[in-house]
Symmetry: C2
Subunit: 243 residues, 2 copies
């Protein structure tokens, strides 16, 4: 009988060409599958809850895979970590129902984005450095125009004309913490680069180049050219996947 | 007339073979001197307040150099930063008295060391991961045996038999902050690897393998073999140089 193992993974996206396996590229899925093959002695596919882009980090990505061997959860976690480089870390391994699918069963994903006002060499790969003044009160006022189930064509790169562009934004916040602006967003799903484009657009509100209500206008236009620039990948973190 | 410029520098030591110029190695001094040569159009020596080892970081290293050109301080800082890679950053540039020498005039140096209890990929190059339990109350009790002017042969690697091994430890503290232990030490000078060996020894007190008063016994022995292991470089930061 095949066992279904759910793992929770932290990774620093700096030196990865994103999640998905690609020939001749160092990817998170590829490195994880290699570590798993070392452990199990056979090639095994790992299914991830979401694909993160090059440079994007994960505080708690979720994935699952099948295995036969009878190791306990703690041993599985330790064996994977022993075979992984130090920029990926398995936080947890748990045997789950055979029907569990890390991508299809996720009910929502939470992303976090960090903007720093002060340049620091230690944050160069972990936050977007924006020294401009941002009016966070205006940025907070833009949130209500984003909440709920909406076609977010304006904030995404469509993979095809038939793609479903609806996202149900359940929660969204901007917080100030010392020299940082921290954005958090929870939705049932995300589209390609959508979080980073939402961040890039809110930053324009903070700079008073857009008004809070322009978020509504931009969404209604269903036109990517109406939104702001896509914020850089290194400020973005997949924070949580909910089931 | 030559102007004397004092600069304050932040750097991430991860990808540097320490401060001092070495042939065919990427060093902080070397990269800074290259940026300065780009700016001034001629090779110019930069004097640093202290030599940091491979992997050791700086929050505020101090250095100085001479130049003729009449640029203002802000322009000097920006020109250097424009020619520097993103893991070194000049925080400040200031014209100082022609007699100022960043190394000889420093009255004390402050170092900081970070130990994390919880492994995180984001901290792998910035803190020492030690999951063991540490009794910080015992560690704090060891401090008084280190304070004052003492021959710290036991905590250092001597460069020569004639080297002056006296250090005047002015301030020293252990603090707990969430999952971290933070060590800070201020002294007139330091010896090679002395901060890291002091940290490695205090950690043994925290693990109850040594007693707080053993710090006194170790110092009195003037024998490196009596002290603990040298803690890894990536947890160490040159925090401040005082004049």
């Amino acid at each position: 009988m095949l066992r279904n193992i759910k793992i929770t993974i932290e990774y620093d996206g700096t030196d990865f060409s994103g999640w998905q396996v690609q020939p001749n590229k160092r990817t998170v899925q590829g490195v994880l599958q290699n570590a798993l093959a070392e452990f199990l002695g056979k090639k095994t596919k790992i299914i991830g809850a979401g694909r993160t882009d090059t440079g994007v980090h994960a505080i708690a990505q979720v994935a699952n895979f099948s295995m036969k061997k009878n190791y306990d959860e703690h041993t599985i976690m330790n064996a994977l970590n022993a075979n992984l480089p130090n920029d990926i870390f398995v936080i947890n391994a748990k045997e789950v129902d055979s029907k569990f699918h890390s991508r299809f069963d996720a009910t929502s994903r939470v992303y976090l984005y960090r903007i720093t006002k002060k340049y620091s060499v230690f944050e160069r790969n972990y936050a977007w450095h924006c020294s401009k003044f941002h009016d966070i009160i205006l940025m907070k006022k833009g949130i209500k125009f984003l909440l709920g189930k909406k076609d977010l064509t304006s904030f995404a790169i469509a993979k095809s004309k038939k793609e479903n562009m609806y996202i149900d934004v359940k929660r969204c916040e901007w917080k100030k913490k010392k020299d940082e602006l921290i954005f958090q967003i929870e939705a049932d799903r995300f589209l390609h680069k959508s979080v980073r484009t939402i961040v890039g657009t809110f930053v324009l509100i903070g700079e008073r180049k857009l008004k809070p209500q322009d978020i509504g206008t931009i969404i209604a236009a269903k036109d990517r050219k109406m939104a702001g620039k896509t914020a850089p990948p290194y400020g973005l973190y997949l924070k949580e996947v909910k089931y």
